[in-house]
């Protein structure tokens, strides 16, 4: 065999590639089907969103936050709202907070449905993807009734939300939750517990708890590694302390703790937990106004603040510096996908090309959130 001259092949995956979830690029060094390394190259979706904030003012920036992570835009809306309220000391009405949580948790379900569906498509099964999108469409319908948009919502405002729940919406939302729980079981029967699916995902790219913390993973990726951390419970914000819910953790029951299967199942389990939060929120929602009085020319006092929300992709940090004018002096967003991209190079060593696709899908990397 030593007589044979072999050489590494350098493959360019992306920025136009069907399974890179947007515009990502990887430079892959492979030895046949086995990868030596995959080097992520980010920046293809950089839109200077943080800089735009310095030019459009506090109120005007709200629609731009949708574009930070368009798959779960409610969380970025909420985080921006929270940051501005913290700077100016605005109190959000309780019904407004409930509306925010309801919208955000519905958005989390929609985002996780997209993630698990994309996992199906990335390992070659189209049907789970279409089924997941079918369920997501129903959430989009609900949210469309709420705020008129299906993807980039612009639902929240500084001091609350733009619109109250429409009449009859609560019953529709509860009916959807009744519909969702059997669908999750059906989805598991179709895809999650399929032998081929488990074989493909289990033991692929396992991340231990120490590595997950070192590489700054957040959200479901972190919890799949067995680290018990959720901003909704550990740094409570909004009205989350009023709800009773569990934080699912990666158990390693399919092989290694924190493998792709664990990360995938984390999303499936969070679907049920989000539904649980939603049920409580929809039944407990108080009456009252949804939007606090906020001046049109919003000028918070000079200072800085940081807020963290648990978005569908994990702990999302917003850092805002105000110099007392009507434009923020500096805004920075810290997103989970960026940290996850940093880990891909390490995890990719020794995987197969097909596993790289699984790895990207299981980390739930969304391209706009990486670059902003």
């Amino acid at each position: 065999m030593s007589m044979l001259r072999t050489e590494e092949m350098t493959l360019n995956m992306g920025p136009q590639h069907p399974s890179t979830h947007g515009v990502l690029r990887f430079v892959i060094r492979t030895d046949g089907e086995v990868m030596r390394e995959a080097i992520p190259d980010v920046g293809y979706l950089h839109r200077s969103i943080e800089k735009i904030a310095e030019k459009v003012g506090y109120h005007g920036f709200m629609p731009y936050t949708d574009r930070v992570d368009y798959v779960c835009a409610m969380f970025t809306n909420q985080a921006w709202g929270m940051a501005c309220e913290k700077l100016a000391g605005v109190e959000v009405p309780r019904r407004g907070e409930y509306c925010r949580v309801i919208a955000a948790e519905f958005n989390r379900i929609a985002s996780h449905l997209l993630t698990v569906g994309l996992m199906g498509m990335d390992i070659g099964a189209m049907t789970p993807f279409v089924h997941a999108l079918r369920e997501r469409e129903m959430i989009n319908d609900l949210i469309e009734e709420l705020c008129g948009a299906r993807l980039t919502f612009n639902y929240m405002r500084i001091g609350g939300v733009a619109w109250d729940l429409p009449p009859g919406w609560r019953d529709k939302a509860l009916a959807y939750l009744d519909h969702l729980e059997p669908i999750v079981n059906e989805f598991n029967a179709l895809f999650s517990y399929n032998k081929i699916c488990i074989e493909r995902l289990a033991k692929v790219a396992a991340i231990g708890p120490a590595d997950a913390i070192d590489y700054n993973l957040v959200g479901p990726n972190l919890r799949a590694a067995g680290v018990n951390w959720d901003v909704r419970r550990d740094l409570p914000y909004s009205v989350y302390p009023e709800f009773d819910f569990e934080i699912p953790l990666g158990s390693g029951e399919w092989g290694a703790i924190g493998d792709a299967m664990d990360r995938y199942m984390m999303r499936i389990r969070e679907l049920t937990q989000s539904a649980r939060i939603l049920r409580q929120a929809l039944t407990q929602i108080p009456d009252g106004p949804v939007l606090a009085k906020v001046v049109r020319n919003f000028k918070p006092a000079a200072g800085e603040c940081q807020v963290r929300v648990e978005s569908a992709r994990g702990d999302q940090g917003w850092y805002v510096v105000s110099d007392g004018t009507s434009y923020p002096w500096r805004v920075h967003v810290r997103t989970g996908s960026f940290a996850a991209m940093g880990m891909i190079q390490k995890l990719s060593r020794g995987l197969m090309i097909a596993d790289l696709v699984v790895l990207i899908a299981s980390l739930d990397v969304i391209a706009p959130e990486i670059d902003r």
């Binding site: 092949m9 493959l11 590639h17 069907p18 399974s19 089907e33 199906g120 498509m121 990335d122 390992i123 070659g124 099964a125 189209m126 049907t127 279409v130 089924h131 079918r134 519909h179 059997p182 669908i183 059906e186 029967a189 179709l190 895809f191 399929n194 081929i196 699916c197 074989e199 493909r200 197969m352 090309i353 097909a354 596993d355 696709v357």
Partner: protein, 396 residues
């Protein structure tokens, strides 16, 4: 067809001179080839429509329903669209091989139709090595695919082509070994001979002849999925990994050729399974008229084949794709040893019961019916429990 030609010659229709005989014979051969071409190509195209409709139902969609009644002419529209598109040959590609590859793939899908036993008389050439010929020419596909992958001069195409070569060559072995139990039992390689050795009733199909045959038929089916690059073995064109695999650089009609061959090959491999294990065209002798009998046999054969094709579509709508190492270990660690056991077991079986064992056949049939009933019950159970409205009506 051959027999009919011989009969005409015996009657002296062509006269005694050899030249007119040759002219007539080649004329008839060309006519037959054209007829087969005219059956095979539309079949492969119509299957694309059927598959998209079936797939859409599985995914609670509606599927193409605009062109023609229920979208039936979608295949024609797609074909026209592909012909009208620009045929791009990449500057870095090897143009000769690049152009040749789709023809080889289509050739590999057209040639098997020559020995396709549609009914007792409808067969172009009942070769005495029919089944061997069939496996030999279908294996040509891999040459075309590998050629396409190599000539495209694209790394994704190359990986797709090499994957295809590894996959098809590996799965040829269990597929070939699963053909031999039937050959052992019948002592013939001719497609008609094998069909005639079975009866119209399921207890006289080779599927139920012995437990070894049952296992061999299942291995043959799975291996045929792998040979045709069908899900769960569609690695050579794995969209999410390799863009479009070996077909990445192809466009226009050449691209369509690959996929037409893939869909057509579904029919071919289903026909092999039906002929070997499911009784082929055998139908009870209900009419003295040979034309009526042939029509009934033709319908029987096609219905059986379409059921197998439908199952393969169903599998495609359900299963994810396996990884390449899993695919290889499935072949070499499980299928090849089991196929060898089947071969030896059948040899012993034939030595003990040269005329078959009716008791074993009936028991295997009972097992088969039980398995089918269990499966149907499961499907009905899930279909009833499903919260979504299911579009079973074919004409929406």
């Amino acid at each position: 067809m051959e027999a009919w030609l011989n009969r005409l010659m015996m009657r002296g229709v062509f006269g005694a001179h050899p030249i007119p005989v040759l002219v007539y014979a080649s004329g008839i051969a060309i006519a037959c080839a054209l007829v087969l071409f005219a059956i095979a190509l539309p079949f492969a195209s119509i299957v694309t429509w059927v598959e998209r409709r079936v797939w859409a139902r599985i995914q609670s969609r509606i599927g193409p329903n605009r062109v023609g009644p229920n979208g039936f002419l979608q295949w024609l529209a797609d074909g026209l669209k592909h012909i009208c598109k620009e045929d791009i040959i990449p500057a870095e590609a090897d143009p000769r091989l690049f152009k040749l590859a789709p023809y080889l793939v289509v050739l590999a899908f057209i040639l098997p139709w020559a020995v396709m036993p549609f009914s007792s008389s409808l067969i172009l050439a009942d070769l005495n090595v029919g089944i061997l010929y069939m496996t030999a020419v279908t294996a040509l596909t891999v040459v075309g695919v590998l050629m396409a992958g190599w000539a495209s001069n694209n790394k994704w195409s190359l990986i797709g082509g090499v994957r295809s070569a590894a996959q098809v060559v590996s799965y040829e072995i269990p597929a070939g070994l699963s053909i031999f139990p039937v050959v052992l039992m019948t002592g013939t390689l001719s497609m008609q001979g094998i069909t005639r050795a079975q009866g119209w009733s399921p207890d006289r199909w080779f599927l139920f002849a012995s437990p070894f045959c049952f296992a061999a038929a299942i291995i043959l089916f799975v291996a045929s999925l792998a040979e045709n690059n069908r899900t769960p073995f569609d690695l050579p064109e794995a969209e999410s990994e390799l863009v479009a695999g070996f077909a990445t650089e192809y466009s226009s009609m050449r691209y369509l050729f690959f996929f037409m061959a893939e869909w057509g090959n579904m029919f071919v491999s289903a026909a092999i399974i039906v002929t070997l294990y499911l009784g082929g065209w055998r139908f009870p002798h209900v009419s003295p008229s040979p034309i009526a009998m042939n029509l009934l046999e033709f319908a029987t054969f096609n219905i059986k084949v379409l059921i197998i094709v439908f199952v393969s579509m169903w599998i495609r709508g359900t299963l994810p794709r396996v990884r390449i190492d899993q695919m290889m270990s499935l072949c070499w660690k499980y299928f090849v040893p089991i196929a060898f056991v089947n071969l030896i077991g059948t040899a012993v079986w034939v030595a003990i019961w040269p005329a078959g064992n009716p008791f074993a056949a009936w028991s295997m049939l009972a097992v088969g019916v039980l398995l089918a009933a269990f499966f149907v019950r499961r499907v009905v159970h899930f279909a009833r429990r499903s919260r979504m409205e299911l579009y079973f009506h074919p004409t929406i």
